[in-house]
Structures are given as C-alpha cells and as structure tokens.
C-alpha cells in the first residue's frame, strides 16, 4: 500500500512539471518585455528594472525557468503588481467562497445524479430514462451563464425567493451563506449532474446484466437491496472516476458562475486578473487550480480500494 502510494504520488510529478512549463511559457509567448507586462501599465522604470532582476530576465530561458520553479517549490507564486500583494495571499483570501460553492455543488450534484442515473438504468428505455437522457443533452448545451440568468429571473426576480447575487462569508451574522449559494450551486451543478447521471446510468445498466444480479434477484432480495448493495456498489469505480474528472468542468464553471453572481472567489479573481493583464496572478491561479485538479484525481485513484476489494495496492 505504502509503496503504491509513493508511486502514485510520484506519477503526478511529471504532470505538474508539464503544467509548470506551460504556465511559465505563457508569459514568454506574449510579445513584448515580460517584466513590463508583469508590472502592468502603471509601473515606473525602476520597478520594471527591479522585476527584471527578480525574474532573472538577463539570464537564459532555462535559468529563468529554474528560478521560477524553485520559487514555486517554496510555495511562492510571485507578487501581483496590480493588487500589490503576494499571489498566495490573494488566493488564500478568495478561497472560501470558491470552496463553499464547489462543495455545495458537488454534494447537490451527486445526491441528484446518482439516484436518478441508477433509476434510469433500472428501467432502461422507460420514461424516466428518456427524460434523464433528454435533460442531460440539454444540461451539456445550456451555457452556464444563460442558465444562471434564467434562474435569477425566475427565482430571485419574479418569485423573490432567493437573493439575486453576492456572497456572505461563513459566520457573518448579516445573512445566510447557504441561502446565497443555492442559486449559484443550482446553476453550476446542472452540467455536472448531466455528466454524472449519464455515467451512472451507463455503468449501472451494464452491471445489471451480470450473473450475480440475477442470482440476487433469484434468492428473493428486494429490488432496493439489489440496486443499492449489488448494482450501485459494483458501479462505484467509474462513477467516482467521472466525479473526479468532472472537477475540471467545475473549475471552468466556477469562473463563469462567480462572475454571474458577483461572488468574490478565485474565479472572479481569475477574470479580474486577465482584464487587468495581471500575469503573476493569472499564472498563480492556473498553477493552483491545476494542482487541486491533480490532487483530487489522485485521491480518486486511491479511493478505489474502498469500493472494489479486488483492487489491492
């Protein structure tokens, strides 16, 4: 187990290295002086000279990359000249809303998609199955921001049930965090539900053709037990996998959702940084999100042990 763990963690290193090269190249691909681009429009000549020195721009590209990676390994993502603050500090400040939104979305999506997908597989070709498949094509096709505005229009403006936008920090007495997260989470979970429900339906329907399902039914187990304990449990690995892969979709969606609902999270930070051409922050946020994505999928791989005893490390 331990040796597998180490091997699996080691396998993520080349992936992260490639991400680091890409993010590093991003700034060097941009026409113009990287120091001037990083400093932004309002910087003085001295400031630009200072940045040149700190990035090691007089040296060769590999040496510059070396400086960047060694900073990265020390947890230093550089300094934003636009926000006049360390990028790590910026990320830490914006982390809570994004984490809360992602968490609520994942919980909602899994709780809706897995039961629906299982029921659809149970009566494949039935009305629920067809409705779910239709919905999932729709879920993949409606742009997140269009859905967001439809929900704002119906639930916040017409029915007046929920706040239109904004975010209340956890523990802030001025309002309920959860109430402000319902609309964004509904918006964001739609595409995620479509994805998970499809995979659940496909996997469970395949498991339901297995011999042990027939045996379970033949020995008189109620359908509920057959579905939950025999079918769903054996379909768990692909479902967990797609939940992990879907985190990439979720991260993309967070950027849009936070923008629609005015949530001051990491997605909003990304867009603001791009609009201000604040490259250190753009690089930092991409590194951070990619790191999270890789770690989530590492955890997904490790969790297989819990769901499938045939898999032993």
């Amino acid at each position: 187990m331990l040796s597998f763990l180490l091997k699996r963690i080691a396998a993520t290193l080349p992936v992260l290295a490639v991400v680091a090269v890409f993010v590093f190249m991003l700034l060097r691909l941009t026409p113009g002086d990287p120091a001037a681009i990083m400093a932004g429009d309002a910087a003085s000549t001295e400031q630009i000279a200072q940045i040149r020195a700190s990035l090691g721009l007089e040296r060769s590209i590999p040496a510059q990359f070396g400086i960047w990676v060694s900073n990265l390994l020390q947890g230093d993502l550089g300094e934003s000249f636009y926000y006049k603050s360390k990028v790590t500090t910026l990320i830490a400040q914006r982390l809570e809303p994004t984490m809360m939104l992602a968490l609520v979305t994942i919980i909602v999506a899994v709780c809706v998609a897995v039961p629906l997908g299982t029921l659809a597989a149970w009566r494949i070709g039935g009305w629920l199955d067809r409705a779910l498949m239709g919905f999932s094509v729709l879920g993949f096709s409606i742009p997140i921001f269009v859905l967001g505005y439809i929900l704002i229009y119906l639930l916040a403006m017409k029915a007046n049930l929920l706040p239109v936008q904004g975010y209340i920090k956890l523990g802030d007495p001025s309002g309920s965090t959860l109430k402000h997260l319902i609309l964004p989470a509904m918006t964001l979970s739609c595409i995620y539900i479509a994805l998970i429900a499809r995979v659940t339906r496909a996997t469970v329907s395949e498991v339901l053709t297995e011999d042990y399902i027939r045996t379970a039914r033949a020995k008189g187990l109620p359908e509920r037990v057959v579905l939950m304990r025999h079918a769903l449990k054996n379909a768990a690995v692909p479902i967990i996998t797609v939940i992990g892969i879907g985190v990439a979709l979720l991260i993309g969606g967070v950027v849009v959702t936070e923008s629609v609902y005015g949530i001051p999270g990491l997605g909003r930070l990304t867009v603001d940084a791009v609009l201000a051409r604040d490259f250190p922050t753009i690089q930092g946020v991409i590194m951070f999100f990619s790191f999270i994505y890789v770690v989530v999928n590492l955890l997904v791989d490790l969790s297989y042990v819990l769901f499938d005893p045939r898999i032993r490390y």
Binding site: P14, V137, F145, V271, S290, V294
Partner: protein, 308 residues
C-alpha cells in the same frame, strides 16, 4: 432439402443487408433534427444582410433601450437617419439587438467549425505519431497529461490574455486545450487497429509506414473522429461565448452572442431580453450540434455509444 431452405431463410433473417453508415446516420431522428437546425442557422449566418438587419455596429442615441418590437431610428455611417423596427429591442448604445444576434451566428459557427478542424488535424498527427513511433509515445503522452491537468476554459482564458484577442487567436486558444483528448483518442484507435490482420498483411507486403498510417489506419478512425469533432464544435461555441461574456474574448464591438450578453447583463433587471435573445440562439445552436453528435455516435460508432 426442406431443412436446407429453412436454414437459408434463417440465415437471411440473421444477416439482413446493412445500409451504408451514412444512410443509417441520416435515418436517426437526432441527426435529422440537429442537422436541420444547423442548416437553418448556417443559412441565417450566410444571408444575414438580407434578413431585415442593419449594420450591427450602427447605433443611435435616440433609440437607446427600446423594448422588442418598438420602432425607432438608426443612423448610418453617412449620417442618414433610417426608420427601423427593433425586433429584439436595442441596447444601451441604441444598437439593434436583432441584427447583432443574426450576425453573431457567423462568429459562433466559424469558431466552432474552425476549432474542431484545427484540434482534429493536430490531434490526428500527434496521435498517429504517438501510436506508431514508440519512442515518441511516452514523452508525448506525458505532455498531453500535463495539458489535460489544466482546466480547458482556464487555459483558453490564459492564452487569449497572452495574445491580442482576434478571431484567429480565440480559435487557436480554444482549440489547444482540446488537442490532448483527440490525440489520446487517435492513439488508442491506432493501437487497436494496428493489431488487425489487414494491417499485418499490409505490413508483411512491405508497405511503408507513412502509407500504412494514412491509407490503412486513418480511414478506420474516421467515424469516432467525426463524433469527437461535433463535440469539440459544441464546446468551442460555448467557450467562445464564455470568453466574450467574461470580457476577455473578441473585442466588444464585434457582434458575438457572448458580447451581446456581456453588454446586456448590467441592465438585466430592467431589460432581461438583452440577455435572453442571444442566450436562446446560443443554447439552440449548441443543442443542435450535441444532438447531431449523439445521433452520429449511436449510428456510426456503436461501440462508443455503449460506453456512455
């Protein structure tokens, strides 16, 4: 005798003459509906100037914030005042939203199609090389793994921010994150197909590698690649709209569905139609492309349709 004929009837029933793949595809209702909607949108995009539109960049201060269906005036570049009915209302600068939505179809369709073609071509070359040149396989796949670890929209946003946004840079920025998936698909197809007897036969006849790749292997990857291409097209249209909507895509004077919504969002509470009209067009287009993709997948590539 009797037994013999019974057998032949049965075998005839077992193996009916199969229609060619493209005929089966055309019979699927999803392909038909998706295809017809897309043809209509393409025609709209091509004939935009003759559909009662005005130049989508024209504005008139007197016709600001009109509700859908209201008549008003629009000033041409020559300073002439024209009477015009604003079918979908006007935005806060007094531009005709109907004209902008109709012209916006051009950008979306061009971006979707170009991204699909670009990422497919690069992915095919990389996937074929990776599946055939074993020394290249390891390093190339590690690079692809790394690219896939960067969430696609984020990578596209970062790339457009590094370049000056134009139709070309937006297309390239959206296509790049799609390349790894195409490469992996082509590679896995190559690895399966190269074990087929006809490939071994060609190989034993001394067929050069290049001919083998493009004559014997590539044609067998066409069906899954067409399916993949439609999905890339749908997602590219979405991502382009997202980039424009966030304000990091094409310049705001270019009429794209995302741009119209970005301009409309400030006034969403008073004039929700500024966001909804382009939104409906966008959703319908993406839905049509996705339906086409699903239909093609079910008919052309039944193996893939079973997986999901």
């Amino acid at each position: 005798m009797a037994e013999d004929s019974a057998l032949s009837v049965e075998s005839a029933n077992l193996a009916p003459v199969q229609k060619p793949a493209w005929r089966r595809a055309l019979d699927a209702w999803a392909v038909r509906v998706g295809g017809v909607v897309l043809i209509v949108f393409t025609l709209i995009a091509l004939t935009a100037p003759w559909l009662g539109t005005v130049d989508p960049t024209l504005f008139d201060a007197a016709s600001r914030d009109l509700l859908p269906g209201k008549a008003g005036e629009i000033t041409t570049l020559e300073g002439e005042q024209l009477k015009h009915t604003f079918l979908m209302g006007s935005d806060s600068l007094g531009r005709d939203i109907y004209s902008r939505v109709i012209y916006g179809a051009r950008v979306s369709l061009i971006v979707g199609l170009s991204c699909a073609i670009l990422s497919l071509s690069i992915g095919i070359v990389l996937g074929l090389s990776s599946g055939y040149l074993r020394w290249l396989d390891g390093p190339l796949m590690r690079v692809m793994d790394g690219m896939m670890a960067i969430p696609g929209i984020l990578l596209a946003i970062a790339l457009v921010s590094a370049w000056k946004a134009s139709v070309l840079t937006v297309i390239v920025a959206i296509a790049i994150p799609e390349i790894p998936r195409v490469t992996r698909l082509v590679r896995s197809l190559v690895l399966t197909i190269r074990e087929e007897p006809y490939v071994e036969a060609a190989l034993s006849l001394g067929t050069p590698t290049i001919t083998l790749m493009f004559r014997h292997i590539l044609p067998n990857t066409v069906a899954p690649l067409i399916v993949q291409g439609t999905y890339i097209c749908a997602s590219a249209i979405l991502v382009e709209a997202i980039l424009s909507f966030l304000g990091v895509g094409l310049p705001s004077d270019v009429p794209t569905w995302g741009n119209i919504m970005a301009e409309g969002r400030a006034q969403f509470q008073q004039f929700p139609h500024n966001v909804f009209f382009p939104g409906i067009f966008l959703a319908l287009t993406v839905l049509a492309v996705n339906m086409l993709g699903d239909g093609l997948r079910d008919t052309l590539d039944p193996k893939m349709s079973k997986k999901v």
